[in-house]
Amino acid sequence: MKSPTAAVSRWVDDRFAASRWVRTALNKIFPDHWSFMLGEIALYAFVVLVLTGIYLTFFFDPSLNKVIYKGSYAPLQGVEMSAAYRSTLDISFDVRAGLVMRQMHHWAAIIFIGAIVVHLARVFFTGAFRRPRELNWIVGVTLFILAFVNGFAGYSLPDDQLSGTGLRIAYSIILAIPLIGTWAASLVFGGEFPSEAIISRLYGIHILIVPAAIAILLVAHLGIMWHQKHTQFKIAGATENNVVGSPLWPSYAAKSVGLFFMVSAFVAGLGGLAQINPIWIYGPFVADRVSSASQPDWYMGWLEGALRIMPAWEVRAFGFEIPNPFFPGVLLPGITFGLLYAWPFLEQRFSKDRDPHNVLDRPRDRPLRTALGATALSFYFLLFLAGGTDVWAVILHASVNALVISFRVAVLALPPLVGVVTYYLCKELSGAGGGRRKPPAIVERSVDGGYEARPAPRPAGSPEPELAPEPLPETAGTTE
């Protein structure tokens, strides 16, 4: 044993007795399914976010001090703006590789939250949140909320016209909370909007507090998954008490590292070739300006839509009031995330199923859960669409008011319909066998009209028949 790898592992092993548990880790079996990659995409998008974000911190100045722009973007020469906005312009035009990093950072955030949402849907529809994984579901929902908050904090930092408008709305939503709203808004923003403090506060939250919380919870999320072992679909040989798949070392590790590079590649391609958040077009934030078609990042779209289509209702009594934005801006996300947290326990309560589950459901085999999930998804998707009523009006040559009224009706009427259709589709499909392609058969009709089927011979060059899963070979030594 002369190789450097052997030398290093010997050195470590002579100090930590690590070979025993590392070997167990290397031999750990991971089930294979494309949908198990969704969470990994989110993980790797987070890695890209951290790497590009570190680069951006070297150049970004989270200050609202007034400066006069003298950089290389001609249309804004001589314009008064905040140091935060100027440094974002400098990153975009004067820092070499700055724009590609900035755009990669933004695209990675968009993909991060997108992957989280699709991963969450996968976990929901396959029942992966059931006992013993309720706690990891809670950690996952918390990660979702943190990602959501950090996305908003991040795109609010450049102090451009669009992000300033977003902060203005956020301030108004906090202000709308009964009893504590006026104090809460003042404490969060450090005074009345627009305050001098908010950008530097959001900066600390965006680059330290929330990312640290995400990193800690990610470790918990993966650690719990590692300890409890991943769920699997009911493939050949899979039972509630085993895991069928490929070992961490080397094939699963190679595929996962490969996925990391491919996610980064995708983000880099978008960051270089697809413009995002061109703050030099929006201009610096000025309190009395606003542009039409002001749209937030995609993951805020459902809240934007809810704010837009909420009828002009509010509660007033004895000089007190619950302002209108409270309902779509505070109550709706409160109920949304509350239901998400509670779901595993609600389902246990109503289904009376408190047994441990390691084999996943096919969504069609759980018609009620799938129908409820489809109802919820269609509800939020319609709210998301309603977040662009002004844009739809231009595209469809329709009046904004007609669109808003249509969305008010659609948001209430369509989701139950989607739910009912999904329910009966699942009922219909659950009888059919699923998953793998059926082996070819030769059907012969006999002279007296009867039919007989027999398996077709395997054509030359077709894949080998499936192997039965086997444990990795045992070798000497103890395992954990």
Binding site: N27, I29, R96, V100, Q103, P132, I169, S172, L179, G181, T182, W183, S186, G190, G191, F193, P194, A197, K229, N241, V243, S246, P247, S251, A253, K255, G258, L259, F260, F261, M262, V263, A265, F266, A268, G272, L273, A287, D288, V290, S291, A293, S294, W313, R316, G319, F320, P323, N324, P325, P328, D390, N401, V404, G461, L467, P469, P471, P473, T475
Partner: protein
């Protein structure tokens, strides 16, 4: 390939350790090409940066470099490494009764030393509780008391009306149909004092009973801060005499005292009483009589 991949002591023909690819040489060639392309793209990226950088080229080269690595590594993992399928038992995640009993014994052994000194324990909780309460107070430093700030703007009795460049506004400055964003003199850019000066007609307009003299020569002044979520109400539709907020499409009817006519806003934009001084400049008669901007829980309790 298969020989070197196989751990010692296994049968030489165990198909679980075979590469998944039917033609491993071909996969090997593809992977090699991917890694070569990645290397070339990586070098080109360094050169691009050295020459001054170019965003699209950087993104594209980074895509090719990372993509080549990712594609090659993934294909290596999928096509040339043992895929099994392998199986592993799950350990039982429900603790056994013996373990639970043993844990309880260990825990109770330690707990007893606290239980014996209940009085000390209560004092300890008291101290920790007091510390916890004391640590809540610094939150107060984060911002000033909202106090009356939400009920007041920078408009005062007699404040002159100026444009965003600071120049005062005269009675002759707007054509009929015109609109202008104005501020109190000395507070240009103030978020809560931003006001729209409109002239929908050449003669005085009564928006509400009791406001007969609020609109000299057909000039009306309304808060520009939307009563829904606080965006500037930036769009004026002259033919319909409507103000539209671009954020959430609340619509306000100018001739009806900016009552909301569509969208989520529930309250009119507050109107500012204005007058014209002896030099023809607009001045505020006083601050807004109603709090401007979005609602809050005790908005109706303390009049400005």
């Amino acid at each position: 390939m298969t020989e070197s991949n196989r751990p010692e002591g296994t049968e030489p023909h165990d198909p679980h350790f075979d590469p998944a690819a039917r033609h491993p040489e071909r996969a090997e060639r593809t992977i090699a090409v991917a890694f070569v392309i990645a290397t070339v793209a990586g070098l080109a990226l360094a050169v691009t940066y050295w020459l001054g950088g170019q965003t699209q080229a950087e993104g594209a080269l980074l895509f090719v470099c990372l993509g080549g690595l990712g594609f090659g590594i993934t294909l290596w993992g999928k096509a040339l490494m043992a895929q099994g399928p392998f199986v592993q038992e799950r350990e039982n995640l429900i603790g056994s009764d013996e373990d639970k009993a043993a844990f309880k014994e260990s825990f109770v052994r330690g707990e007893e030393s606290f239980e014996r000194r209940r009085f000390l324990l209560r004092l300890l909780f008291g101290g920790v509780g007091a510390l916890g309460v004391a640590l809540i107070f610094p939150i107060r430093s984060l911002g000033p008391s909202p106090g009356r700030t939400l009920f007041r703007t920078q408009w005062r009795k007699g404040t002159r009306m100026v444009r965003s460049d600071g120049s005062p506004v005269r009675i002759s400055d707007l054509e009929v149909g015109g609109v202008l964003t104005v501020f109190p003199e000395g507070s240009v850019g103030s978020s809560d004092s931003q006001t729209l000066l409109l002239r929908p007609a050449p003669s005085p307009i009564t928006t509400q009973p009791g406001r007969e003299d609020w609109s000299p020569s057909g000039y009306l002044a309304f808060s520009k801060v939307c009563t829904h979520a606080g965006c500037p109400v930036g769009l004026y539709e002259h033919d319909r005499k409507q103000l539209l907020c671009p954020c959430h499409q609340s619509t306000f009817d100018v001739l009806q005292g900016c009552q909301p006519s569509f969208g989520p806003a529930t309250r009119p934009l507050p109107q500012l009483q204005i007058t014209v001084d002896e030099n023809g400049f607009f001045r505020a008669v006083d601050d807004y009589t109603d709090p401007i901007g979005p609602g809050f829980w005790n908005r109706g309790r303390r009049k400005g």
